[in-house]
Symmetry: C2
């Protein structure tokens, strides 16, 4: 396992290349949740709209530092990791090929191309993975979305910056896709606030990390599970992220209905575009708070804000957000 102090080094390494995004909170939300403090790390305002730039940029900067600047980059991704790699390649002047499953939202494809990458679409995620390995065999540097140590360290800088700004917190919530974000988050809190609990949140229909944790063996979907939280449609966590996931304090799940509810409310309360994959963390926060007997100071990592128009349509189709609910009980 990585050492927590390496997160600080990663933060120094990338700080001129990524934004130290702001931390928001909503006094209305705090009040409705019973007087706890909920702080949101707004990485939806990150360059390219998501935390993924952190891991991709950190990986390539580390290679350059070690005298191994890639001649080309390849990555497979259904979205934000693709944009993170594409943006990294553009900023550092390295030709980049991104292989994406064809269900990727068109706006993410367009943005990935907009940052200069060559984009190839494949039918399934598994085909994307195997094609990217072919590119790597021919000399391209493959940046996988969550299993590389340098990706994990980069992703952890979001939590590191948050704890530097907020001081101690009682609990931290992030979504779990492949596990890179929560692994880095675990390391960051071990460095700056070891007493903080760390919780992951998964879509109820894509709860492979929870199943893996319960059985002790990594559970893998045969095909990408269906959920509005498109950033969490990964087939499984990786062996190394699973090691960090075993150390966190628990995994909550959120139905798509609950996720849509929280996406609506965060859109309204934070005045921000928040991916369902991020908003679903609130379902975990509320379930956790119901079990608490003391006032909590919570950090929620808002991982991104790249939302397809079709997803916006689904979020607002039922038009629920008409009165502020009582969610304290």
């Amino acid at each position: 396992m990585l050492e927590p102090k390496q997160i600080k080094e990663a933060s120094i390494r990338i700080k001129n290349f990524v934004k130290n995004t702001p931390i928001f909170h909503s006094s209305l939300l705090d009040e409705f949740l019973g007087g706890h403090e909920i702080h949101f790390k707004m990485d939806n305002f990150q360059k390219m709209g998501a935390f993924k730039i952190r891991g991709a940029m950190h990986t390539v900067l580390r290679l350059i530092e070690n005298g191994k600047k890639p001649t080309s980059i390849v990555a497979y991704s259904s979205g934000n990791h693709a944009q993170g790699c594409s943006y990294t390649g553009k900023v550092l002047g390295i030709p980049t090929t991104i292989i994406m499953p064809s269900f990727t939202s068109p706006i993410k494809v367009q943005a990935t191309r907009g940052y200069g990458a060559n984009v190839i679409l494949t039918e399934t995620r598994m085909e994307a993975e195997s094609l990217s390995e072919e590119y790597a065999a021919k000399g391209a540097t493959l940046i996988t979305p969550y299993s590389l140590d340098d990706v994990i360290l980069g992703q952890g800088t979001a939590c590191y910056e948050s704890l530097e700004a907020l001081g101690e917190v009682s609990a931290i919530f992030t979504s779990i896709g492949g596990g890179g974000l929560i692994s880095g988050t675990y390391l960051a809190k071990e460095l700056l606030c070891p007493s903080a609990k760390v919780f992951g949140v998964e879509p109820a229909a894509a709860d492979d990390a929870k199943r893996s944790l319960e059985s002790g063996v990594i559970f893998k979907w045969e095909s990408s599970p269906e959920t509005i939280s498109d950033g969490a449609r990964t087939l499984c966590v990786s062996p190394n992220t699973f090691e960090y996931i075993k150390k966190i304090d628990g995994i909550y799940t959120s139905t798509d209905e609950a996720t849509i509810y929280w996406t609506q409310w965060l859109t309204h309360l934070l005045k921000a575009t928040v991916e369902p994959t991020s908003a679903m963390c609130m379902q975990g926060v509320v379930e956790y708070l119901r079990s608490c007997t003391t006032k909590q100071k919570i950090l929620v990592v808002i991982s991104g804000g790249n939302v397809a128009a079709s997803t916006h349509s689904k979020i607002w189709a039922n038009n629920q957000l008409d009165v502020i609910p009582s969610i304290a009980t």
Copy 2:
């Protein structure tokens, strides 16, 4: 008319009570618009989610400064001004009654009550106006939404803060409802950047300021015009805001279709919840840029982010945002 230097005094007066909201820009948008710089003053992140707190707070602080602290406050408003007055009353410890037309979005009613005001709903805006005058006759201090000098000065602080941060700009765009925001904006730019042009934008279906400007006489709707830009459903500008409107450089209009288009794009590019009333400014920006032969540095005041769920549903019903358009020509 007010003197431009009074805007600076207003800014000092309110600065401990309102946020100096951030200025955002989108490099993708700048590129798609042909290399101009477009800067957005994000008053959707203002306390209570809109610029209206500025004018309301400034008006009451000025009264207190002059030894005339109100014993109670009354206001009529279909939305953000109501929340501005309610929040002002709460912060300054003054009982507040808000009279709202019943078409007001439920979430704005709820938020207004949430800040502690007594809320009364009436059938029409005109009934709301006359009932508020009854309260005023009984001793309450009536804060009208746009015609008071101190409201105009407060609203102008958004532009004042923007120009302090950005330096010189070539043109400034704000929406026009009753005209308070654009009047204060005109004063702010006269103080800090007299060479800047100022443009207003109205919904095509609620273009009373444009009609007034063309005829030289204030045009008044018989009832609130229908448009998705609910912050611009005012019946007419006031005699004093009309004097400032005569001095600006022009008024553009936006159809609801164009407004929805720009609301979608700003949601995506700025990762922010933006009222259609604010987003419609982009229609004016694009029309203006088409007439420009040199690179422009533009300021757009994003006036608020309080959007009802039913409005979100309308914005995303047609699911347009699938590829980034070429909007340079």
